[in-house]
Symmetry: C3
Subunit: 343 residues, 3 copies
């Protein structure tokens, strides 16, 4: 159950080398490539000649040359040329609307005529020199909604990430969940607590004392189809917390683009955007390394949870206050899928 | 097809460390742990909150703390506590009767109210200082009944284990099979034969000459649901064989607890108990190493036999005199399963 | 969809060691062995006693001794002996007609009474001292017909094998396809072109200049059930090409026996027979190494093409002039299978 008429992150620019990239997204086998002129193309990964995967071919100008018998596929899904052949009757293959923006390649796996690039999730910080971003990609064998649940209930930090960002005070601070249109927001504020190791590192990275009490916040925002942006940070205690001046805090945005591959697997694009010391590349690298280790701790849990749910498909799960973010996000998804199917 | 109302070996005490142990038994996903007070608990491996596997959590006193969001599960299957939550309405999870006895952890995957610990397979030698025991665990992808067949027909030693315990004289001595209640007994006696390498080692381990003719015996006893104990040994020839005085023989009990994981996979707990030189730990280690190598020789055969039987599911197999032990054991199992289903 | 009443290459003589060989062919689990007297036997890989795979046993004279309980199977599929057993009532297992010829072991997976060894694909060069042969075996997860397509359309050399035997002139020379009875022949001739690296090596191997223009030819011959022999070669340009005298050319026969394992996997026996410098074993080794690398380039393409076709089973493929060889070969196969089913 995916929303098909939506923009998903397909890949990052560094994944598009001089070779095409094969990737399955929302059950669709796609191939992505950057033309010599720099445009992005997204096509079905299927050569109309004999069904070979175009991702094993090579890029030639704005065309993809099939690596089997040399059919030259245009980025419009129409065969452009094939040596010795009249190609006018060749069936076209499907193209997918695709757009490079904010440092990501976005793809629309649904009806092309509904693909409006103004619907791409806006990232205010992305093209702003006051901000820096670092991130990575994990492949996880779970339903994408389990990852939404994960990110909309950060209570799990206390248990899964005990040595880095977890602390008992998270557990003790009940989150609040509300909706703004189709956006679901879960937030949690903790006051006058010690900073856990990851945030001590971030405070030092911003030139701040790491051994004083802090105010800490987590504001998780779900937007369809499966994006979760989380404002996180700590400020030296008593300066206003989330609203404290930049000089006494370290804050950032955890960026999570969850792209379904199949019903039970995802491409998980994770990262962190920050607006302190944006020019410090070694800090960017440290944060990315730390975050990569932390997020890797979730993988085994998510995959085994998925196995349990496949074993007991009809067993009801609890919906506690801490689950409200995930529960409401799923409701939004369900309604949008129902709308899509009705249309 | 398993008997559910029966005691199976779930694990050995050394497998229960400070982490919980996830293991599937008779198709049931279970988690085992030892409380701080030393009790054993066996639960469904399913957190009632969001379905996470409890085996990824940690032990806290007599509770299991879910590694995802910190639900504290009691060893009674009832949620004991969850920070910030009222847990009174939380659904319980299933517990399984479990008992530590004779150096094994036993579990009852069926109806808890029928679990009578007096039904646990009695091991006379287990708590006796005159005896020593060593063993191990293999995971094998075959129906548990193929392993029962294997152990109730030791003719295979001649072929599978030719270099250790096999010898042509096994083949030449027809076994006799009889029943005592639901116990099936297959026995074979060989007189005035050379000792094969494993038994030469055992004779030396008991301070006896290894190059003289011996009398050899094998008495296999099947008991439900899937345990096979085998009295094996050699005595210097002409002293009475099985009944010879301890001073002229080396004898032991091969211990086989076969625990179904799924319809086509098992946990195979194997070992050997002996009543000579029980204090000699290096002898225990030698025997375990030898037995481990010998039993590993069966794995490929059993797994490929299983594949053959899945390919040809309706093809009849022979039931020779040497198969009588397995055939009668299967009949006992079938009748007990029929009784269980009728009840 | 296989033709069952046909001779397939099962294995090569060097695969038949002192151990039996288990191999699945056209969906049939078979075991092959060479008797002490040198005969080949092919049987179902199933011991009639308890279903163990006979391929885990050992050869004893002209019998196969089951590695589980020692049943001695004759090469006629009848149990010859089993210690302590009366074997007269044991069910026979199926035998398969098998023949060693031309350096290959051939098997007939269909009705034994239709197996006529005169139908074995004739290899003129096989027992001729003027010829040398080298080859190998690949296991590939694709429908055998995809490999026939591959070999009956060498256009792919330009793309898949660009650095060895590919060159744009292949693409530019349209092939011609015709039938001779049930044989399908696709041929392509190129004149006055540079020799690609593999053929430069072959020219040098024949003591010829490798830097002069050549005439090149490829004549692919499909015969049922799934054999493709390809005459390939180059001659110094202007001497008659395919018909040029031996002194100015290097030519050979690419030998492809494609044996289905299952519906979506094959045993691919590939090789090259040549009639120049047949005594030069290091040249044979060089050619085999070169050909092995070239043919390995096809594996990923074939396996991913298969995956694509499983994803889109009903999607039509093109049938261009370059595909005519494969298309006609498939028609022959389809008709023969229909005949077989009707009979």
């Amino acid at each position: 159950m995916f929303l098909k008429n939506a923009w998903y992150v397909a890949c990052t620019p560094d994944e598009l080398t001089d070779k095409p990239l094969g990737r399955q997204i929302c059950g669709e086998r796609m191939v992505f490539y950057r033309t010599t002129a720099g445009q992005i193309a997204a096509l079905e990964n299927f050569c109309p000649h004999r069904g070979a995967p175009l991702s094993l071919g090579r890029i030639e100008g704005d065309r993809l040359v099939c690596g089997y018998h040399g059919l030259k596929m245009g980025c419009d899904g129409k065969t452009a040329e094939m040596t010795g052949q009249r190609i006018s009757g060749f069936p076209a293959i499907r193209t997918f609307p695709v757009e490079e923006r904010y440092g990501f390649i976005w793809v629309w796996p649904g009806d092309a005529d509904k693909a409006d690039t103004s619907l791409i999730h806006h990232l205010e910080w992305a093209d702003n020199p006051d901000w820096a971003y670092g991130g990575g990609l994990y492949h996880i064998k779970c339903d994408y909604r389990l990852m939404i649940d994960n990110l909309m209930d950060l209570t799990h930090e206390t248990y899964v990430h005990a040595s880095s960002i977890g602390q008992k005070e998270i557990d003790e601070a009940p989150p609040k969940t509300h909706k703004e249109g189709d956006q679901v927001i879960t937030s949690r504020f903790m006051e006058n607590i010690p900073a856990p190791p990851f945030w001590q590192m971030a405070l030092r990275g911003n030139g701040l004392a790491d051994d004083v009490p802090v105010d800490r916040w987590q504001i998780c925002r779900f937007t369809a189809p499966s994006h979760v942006m989380i404002e996180v940070g700590v400020a030296h205690a008593g300066h206003g917390g989330y609203d404290a001046p930049a000089a006494v805090k370290a804050s950032s945005i955890v960026v999570d683009f969850i792209t379904p591959e199949t019903e039970t697997s995802i491409w998980y694009f994770w990262g962190m955007a920050r607006n302190f010391n944006p020019q410090d590349e070694s800090l960017t690298a440290s944060i990315r390394e730390g975050q990569g280790k932390i997020f890797a701790e979730d993988l085994d849990m998510l995959e085994q949870q998925q196995q349990n749910l496949l074993t007991w498909p009809d067993r009801p799960l609890l919906r506690l206050n801490i689950d409200a973010g995930g529960v409401h996000s799923r409701k939004v998804i369900e309604r949008l899928i129902a709308d899509e199917n009705a249309a």
